[in-house]
Symmetry: C2
Subunit: 158 residues, 2 copies
């Protein structure tokens, strides 16, 4: 893991690296995920599963469908991950008393401990990613990215 992007982008100062920003975002996410997977491998979970768990830590009691929308995947895809996490004992599900078709998802103690055990490593990874930026630039980056996310999320046609 942590494949070093030797032949990486940039370098070739040549003509218009076409989908520049779209591409750079992907590269950063790819690199970050690669590192995350390496950190999380001993724990036996993937970066995607870890992310889902962090969402649950912040917002307990979501349904699988809500989680899916939050992650831009279909409910079926999310269901695959949910069953994997439930089988591992990291989450539990219960019927929503106020909406009997929904299943509310919560972290188990084990899930919470697993997250806590990796907080430091994730903070370090984020710090490494941002190491070339000033505090001001970090705030700007976050702001810009949030605007990008919003622009892509707003319902277009339909």
């Amino acid at each position: 893991m942590v494949r070093t992007a030797e032949d990486s982008v940039g370098s070739t100062g040549v003509a218009a690296a076409r989908p520049s920003l779209l591409y750079v975002v992907k590269q950063v996410e790819l690199a970050a995920r690669s590192h995350m997977d390496e950190v999380l491998k001993p724990a036996g979970i993937t970066a995607l599963q870890y992310t889902a768990l962090t969402v649950l830590r912040r917002r307990d009691g979501l349904s699988s469908a809500q989680l899916a929308r939050n992650s831009f995947v279909t409910a079926q895809s999310m269901a695959d991950m949910i069953t994997a996490l439930e089988r591992r004992g990291l989450i539990t599900r219960r019927r929503d008393p106020e909406n009997r078709r929904a299943m509310l998802i919560s972290l188990t103690d084990e899930g919470r401990e697993l997250l806590a055990a990796h907080d430091a490593a994730m903070d370090a990874l984020e710090e490494r990613m941002l190491s070339g930026l000033t505090a001001r630039q970090r705030r700007d980056l976050e702001s810009y990215l949030n605007r990008c996310r919003t622009a892509l999320s707003d319902v277009p046609p339909h």
Copy 2:
């Protein structure tokens, strides 16, 4: 596709959305990929395959291994995609005359046409993503992201 992130992040102005920037990058990439998949679906290729093709357009004659490093995946993973793209007639491979173990990959005319047919849509998508940013902010964003990518790519310990 194009799942709207209703219950999205932000909103809850509460305490520290922990892995903030790591998470936002993922969200943006996820949203962008979702839109890309929708645009590319009629052409029968995934966002990942499209990205690999754009890399080849920019840098013809890469080997599968180089392409893999560029994408932070293993050579085996990349080989899967390569065979899929070759089977579809979008790329061709030939032995490197100067290194007889390597296979050099190039786009076919069909592959080039497929890319060209989607340039406009991809430009539009990027424009939409950046619609909330000024030209100056776009340049800054690109600069910051490139610094992030570099910071994550540089070989750490070993």
